[in-house]
């Protein structure tokens, strides 16, 4: 599961208020290189909840990866951004698309319900007594 997915998911179990952001407990994670796609990242940026993404990278022990404030569209489109290892574009690319959580748990902030991540697939299915009526 990439951090992009983490940024989009919430717990919808009974009792959860917003169910977001899910706390990330990581047992195993890895990095897989992916082809940068600036156009996709620029389109995605406004949909990202930045504080939650920063918190997720911190829980992985990568406090330096992302700045406090979200990059601007101009920063992402800056010339040479795709080639420059340290550019805002490449950092965002790494955070959203190259980090994979293989094993771990997503914990609902309101109810502490645990959603397991196994072999990279988060299991968001609810038990039958957790579905909201």
């Amino acid at each position: 599961m990439r951090l992009l997915t983490h940024n989009m998911l919430a717990s919808n179990a009974r009792g959860a208020v917003t169910g977001y952001p899910l706390k990330l407990q990581v047992v195993k994670w890895s990095t897989k290189e992916a082809e940068p796609n600036p156009e996709f990242l620029r389109g995605m940026l406004p949909k990202i909840d930045w504080p939650a993404l920063v918190a997720a990278t911190q829980s992985l022990g990568l406090p330096e990866l992302l700045p406090e404030a979200a990059p601007t569209d101009a920063e992402l489109s800056a010339e040479g951004a795709a080639a420059d290892e340290g550019s805002a574009l490449r950092r965002l690319h790494r955070a959203l698309l190259e980090i994979h959580i293989e094993e771990g748990t997503l914990v609902c902030p309101d109810t502490d319900r645990c959603f397991p991540i196994s072999r990279g697939v988060p299991n968001m299915l609810l038990h039958e007594d957790e579905v909201r009526n």
Partner: protein, 530 residues
Amino acid sequence: MSATDPQWFIFFAASIPSSPLRPLPAAAAAAAGGAARVDSPELSSVRTRRAEKMWYLCVFYHRLLDYRRPEVQSLAELFGGPGAGDAVEWRMPENHHVDSPFHLVRLPGDERLAAQIANRSLLVKGIYELWGQGTTYEELEEAVMAYPEERKLPYLTPDSTFKIVVDSFGKVISFQEQNDIMKSLTYIPFKGRVNLKKPDHKFFVMETDDYGCNNGLPPVAQRTVFFGREVGAADRHLLPTYQLKSRKYIGPTAMDAEMAFLMANQGLAWPGKLVYDPFVGTGSILVAAAHFGAMTMGADIDIRVVRDGRGPDCNIWSNFEQYKLPEPLCVLRADNNVPPWRPGLKEVFDAIICDPPYGVRAGGRKSGGRKLIKGTVAPYTVPDEKRDSHIPSTAPYSLAECVHDLLHLAARMLVMGGRLVFFFPVVREDGVANPAKYPEHPCFKLVASCEQILSMRYSRVLLTMVKVGPYTEEVKKAAEERHREFRENHHKWMEEGNLHSAVFSPADQAADGKPAIDRDSKPKYRGKYV
């Protein structure tokens, strides 16, 4: 295609000045290579004057008849910008039935648009600049002779190479006859050299016979001969590459490769776009979308399908690896009835493309156990010590609720102008599908409905909808209201949406003991069955 291209401006500057300009893909550029040499300024200005009146001959494969025009229109939208799909005009050659493979099309763009559409399509055999047509070869000659010289000569120059292909529909032309036909074309002053492998220009002579109503073929009243120059042609080589029988991981409802590509075309899959399939299964639809460069995401309620597959080398991921495609951004186990997206998240996907479970070959499931639904027993509570290892039971998911959830999800999660493409089953009444029964939503406009007949009893219709209205609080409230209604009257909806019994129950007996459906009465001409 550059913004300074004069033709481009003439067609689009007035209506959509800021339409995104799409690069010409390498494959399209290569295939359109023949046309490239005539793009000198004086000739392109000639074409600009004429382009408005240009009707191309669009020859289709004789398959999936209902899907052919919508595919061309979707691709026109993809390459020509917003509104281009609606601007496509069609007409039939004289005496041709609409199921004929020969159509005339007017596109909102120049020849490069035609080439781009043809090259990416699955069902277009070729798009041709029609130099002439007739009911006999004499009439054809007259027509070609009357076609303007300035349109013909640029393709007949001594420094170019060419090839002539004799093709036919509904008849066989022997090799000797083909040769004779080619030799009879002396009235066209070909100056170039023949190159059969990689010609600059390809010319086609196409002939249909004057059969009336033939088995499996559309009725054509009169023999027609066409002569045209190929502008672009489909690349169906990708079908053997992606065919299901050589795919590692498939399930019982894996989407046929050709259909999956058609769905991806209807969804305008393109690099940088995000495509989501909420019923991902073995990922067969996403594979097609990824082939066209889109980013993909999928969800399924069955964890065995999405996580485990048939082992470490035979699962969703291996399907993408097999074709050297980028793997999906995410695959998750989730329930379409209770989607796990965070509050406030909306307008993320560019397309939602899926084949919902409608209960004929595979039934839908949703969260909530049987005990919860019966209501006679107190709702089941999972004991705390068993919570971690508990495997939740699921409840059957009625088609009506499933489609409602899908439309609601799409209304929320699609960007404006994004597309929802999905199959919808229709019980055929008196042999026809009833369009009045297609689902509707205030945020969506139906742009195409393509029927594929599956049996005497039912069809599936590929619906393509475009998001035209924003996801507002009212839309959200109405959906929640309806959601409750589905929950409270679960049994009623299960009964109503029960397609399985409509499809598989024994045929009704008429009074005289004969079955209501007389198999011998089935017409020979199969139309949409093809």
